[in-house]
């Protein structure tokens, strides 16, 4: 695997980890958060 492939893969893995972490944290705090028309403060702050 060349360097550019490793870089791109790292980027995807980091994005996956960050998005996943934020999604799980948000769902724990406020179930349903981020869904269509969710009215929570988090989504509308």
């Amino acid at each position: 695997m060349n360097i550019q492939s490793i870089l791109l893969l790292s980027l995807v893995v980091i994005a996956f980890a960050v998005v996943g972490y934020r999604y799980v944290r948000r769902q724990r705090r406020n179930p349903g958060c981020g869904s269509c028309n969710c009215d929570c403060d988090h989504c509308h702050s």
């Binding site: 995807v12 934020r22 999604y23």
Partner: protein, 781 residues
């Protein structure tokens, strides 16, 4: 003579209000008190419910409730006459309440104890439903909350900070008509004000409907919390040649009164200054006593003051405002009685006092308290309000209503309007936008693919980017225009005020299904998304109706399922895509009706709650609000696409590309995904859906419905689906997708509203019904 016998256009006066419990209290709180003048406007197309005009606004109620109200055609002179203020009309100088400068007395005699300058201030924004609270909240905080023209758009507290004042927090409470615990929103709002102890209250009052709005104002004043009254829609009142003498009203009420127009952002800065002042200096309402010794012999006055003396110590211990507690004890509010912890002897003494008052006043306890408040309001408005001519908005509403709620035109109009909404979304405007979007996404995928090839990216990473992420997220993203379009039209129905008419027109039909007309709103919002629709059910005043509506909303096909329908319709039914879509929506509605009939006869026996609702004037939605809503919907959808669908796409790609030894697979059926799905597949075998890829897609749909399409896109790649499935099997799949478990966000919301057991019940019930209906499709077709 009872109210249901009144002829259209005829005016009469209420003699007695029958019934009992919370509904009767609610009717009284809405101004249906003995002596009140009302006019019958119309009956709904099916003869029930009816619309009456009382205290200058339109109210709906069913024939069954109308039969409990007796009326007389002539106003009856009441002994004791009407309450009058002693003050001379000409002596009202500006009272300057809630203002600094020479109006503010900080001398030791004034006993002013200002809060520290750095203390956090909390303002409760309270008012009737549909009086502009959320508009004012947005102006105060710069927030982007959705504003509707339907009673009860706000269903939970929303917090924000007043612009330019980081230490001042404002809480937008759900709209309420009184502090009586009738709906769950009223309980929520009352509990917030009583238990959370906001520093001050901003009471927003609709100036065009002032009598009914002041009813809540008086109850808020009884709480003894610093308060400022914001007279909203003053521009509309003055445009119709009405006005309010602000100085007089401020002097008579004993709280600062600020005229504003929340929509035009007029008077809001002045309101903020007053609010900050009364909060900081803890300036409480100067008047909390609305009974009068001369009012009908002073029976109510003596009763209330006797109870206030009797319960003073209990109120101090329970930290409850004394005047508020006395009124609620007379009204028979058990929540207040329990909180005070009265002894048996005290309870009996209070009961004797109340019975004595009822005999002297000639009214029962609830009616006497409501009458006392409306007497005071009438005295205030007689002195301070110059009534407008019938407003242009109201004339326009009456004209529109002749068609939209007319006897022969209401139902056809409803069908045409809803049909038009779906046609514009799925056949005309939405599809045109979708094609544009598709072209853009295809172009972007192509240049990305070329770039990855040029940079010599490893095949596995190349596949992850193009087959996994682009294919997954892109397949869903293309439906953004359709979803935004449908939400746009649904919000237009709500913002214009038509949604309330739909509830009025469809009440009788829904009652046969065991629901109330008000349930139509959550059900219609369910066509957009189940999460807000479940939350919108909070406006329903009965727990039975609320539960039943929540169980039924997931049968309404939400916008997240549109990608699934569109994906398969394009492949299998290109000539009849519209028809297939429409049939799915109708199947959803039909199953909803059948399930509601079953629930009505099993779990939810009994009658739906009465239909007492205000019909707002039609209004043209503001372009700013519409644009804000569109942006919110687009943002929410993009957020979902780049969070849950992005994650699901990568997980699905990984599981379909690798086996349990984390080796890349040659054939997809050796993958982790294929082996896991193989366990569940036999259940779907009778439906012709035993393919592991379909099962995987359906399971992934639990996260979000859009992922069904993204997963199918990844798993089937560019394969020709028409060679793999027959149209009948695909239609069964569509029916299954329409009816099976709601997504995790909707389940979480149902769990929050009804608890875990009901949430599990919804999942199980819907999966079973979906399987049976899909099987029926296979058998019939």
């Amino acid at each position: 003579m009872t109210l249901n016998e009144l002829k259209i256009g005829q005016t009469a006066y209420i003699e007695t209000v029958g019934g009992e419990g919370a509904l009767r209290q609610h009717l009284l709180d809405m101004g249906m008190i003995p002596g009140a003048e009302l006019t019958l406007i119309q009956f709904a197309p099916m003869g029930d419910p009816m619309e009456v005009r009382i205290h200058g606004y339109e109210l709906t109620l069913r024939i069954a409730e109308a039969k409990e109200i007796t009326i007389v055609e002539q106003e009856q002179a009441t002994a004791g006459g009407h309450l009058q203020f002693d003050e001379d009309n000409t002596t009202f100088l500006h009272p300057g309440l809630g203002e600094g400068g020479h109006f503010h007395d900080e001398s030791p005699d004034a006993n002013v104890k200002p809060l520290p300058a750095n203390q956090q201030l909390t303002f409760a924004l309270a008012g009737n439903q549909n009086c502009g609270k959320t508009t004012l909240f947005n102006q105060l905080t710069g927030a982007n909350q959705h504003v509707g023209n339907f009673p009860g758009v706000t269903v939970e507290h929303k917090y924000g900070t007043i612009k330019g004042y980081p230490k001042a927090q404002v809480i937008d409470l759900p709209g309420i008509y009184s502090l009586s615990p009738y709906t769950s929103e009223e309980i929520v709002s009352r509990r917030y004000i009583l238990d959370e102890h906001p520093t001050a209250i901003i009471n927003i009052v609709d100036a065009t409907n002032i009598e009914r709005n002041l009813y809540l104002t008086l109850q808020l004043m009884e709480l003894g919390i610093p308060m400022v009254v914001a007279l909203n829609m003053m521009d509309e009142l003055e445009a119709n040649e009405g006005t309010i003498r602000i100085n007089q009203m401020e002097a008579l009420l004993g709280v600062p009164v600020v005229p504003i127009s929340a929509m035009k952002n007029e008077g809001v800065d002045e309101l903020i200054e007053h609010a900050l002042h009364i909060a900081r200096f803890q300036e409480r309402p100067q008047r909390q006593d609305f009974c009068h010794p001369d009012d009908h012999g002073g029976a109510v006055h003596r009763c209330l003051h006797a109870i206030m003396h009797l319960t003073e110590d209990h109120c101090q211990q329970a930290n409850m405002p004394i005047r508020f507690a006395a009124c609620k004890l007379v009204e028979g509010d058990h929540m207040v009685a329990d909180a005070l912890g009265l002894t048996q002897n005290e309870k009996e003494t209070i009961e004797h006092i109340i019975v004595q008052m009822e005999q002297e006043r000639g009214l029962d306890r609830q009616a006497a308290i409501a009458d006392m408040r409306f007497q005071f309001i009438e005295a205030v408005t007689q002195r301070t309000v110059v009534k407008p001519q019938e407003s242009r908005e109201h004339i326009r509403s009456r004209r529109i209503d002749r068609i939209l709620t007319g006897r022969w035109t209401a139902l056809p109009s409803f069908i045409i309007i809803i049909g038009l909404v779906f046609y514009l979304t799925f056949s005309a405007f939405g599809v045109w936008l979708q094609d544009l979007f598709q072209a853009g996404i295809d172009w972007f995928t192509e240049i990305s693919d070329q770039a990855l090839t040029r940079w010599d990216i490893a095949p596995a990473v190349h596949s992850l980017i193009i087959d996994g992420i682009y294919n997954g997220v892109g397949t869903v993203l293309v439906f953004l225009p359709l979803i935004v379009c449908l939400f746009f039209f649904l919000s237009m129905l709500e913002d214009t005020g038509y949604m309330a008419r739909i509830a009025f027109v469809t009440d009788k039909i829904l009652r046969r299904l065991g629901l109330s007309g008000r349930s139509i709103v959550p059900l219609l919002i369910g066509f957009g998304c189940s999460v807000p629709s479940v939350m919108a059910s909070r406006t329903l005043p009965s727990e039975r109706d609320r539960r039943m509506t929540i169980l039924l909303t997931p049968f309404m096909s939400c916008t997240a399922k549109i990608p699934i329908y569109a994906f398969f319709s394009a492949a299998f039914f290109p000539q009849h895509a519209g028809l297939v879509m429409a049939s799915l929506y109708f199947i959803g509605i039909a199953v909803c009706i059948l399930v509601s009939l079953c629930l009505k006869r099993t779990i939810f026996r009994g009658e739906p709650v009465p239909f007492v609702m205000e019909l707002p004037n039609y209004r043209m939605p503001l372009a700013k609000n519409v644009m804000r809503l569109l942006w919110d919907k687009a943002k929410d959808f993009l957020q979902r696409a780049f969070t849950v669908i992005f994650l699901a796409s990568i997980i699905v790609w990984f599981m379909q590309t690798f086996d349990f030894h984390l080796q890349m697979v040659e054939e997809a059926h050796d993958s982790i995904l294929a082996q896991l799905a193989g366990f569940v597949a036999p259940i779907f075998e009778p439906l012709g859906l035993g393919d592991w890829r379909i099962v995987t897609a359906l399971v992934s749909g639990f996260m979000a419905k859009e992922t069904v399409v993204s997963t199918l896109g990844s798993l089937f790649g560019g394969a020709d689906l028409t060679l793999i499935f027959t149209p009948v099997v695909v239609y069964a799949l569509l029916v299954f997708c329409l009816l099976y478990t709601p997504c995790v966000a909707a389940i979480a919301t149902i769990r929050r509203e009804l608890g875990s057991r009901w949430a599990l019940f919804v999942v199980a019930m819907q999966c079973v019904i979906a399987w049976l209906c899909a099987y029926l499709v296979i058998l019939v077709l």
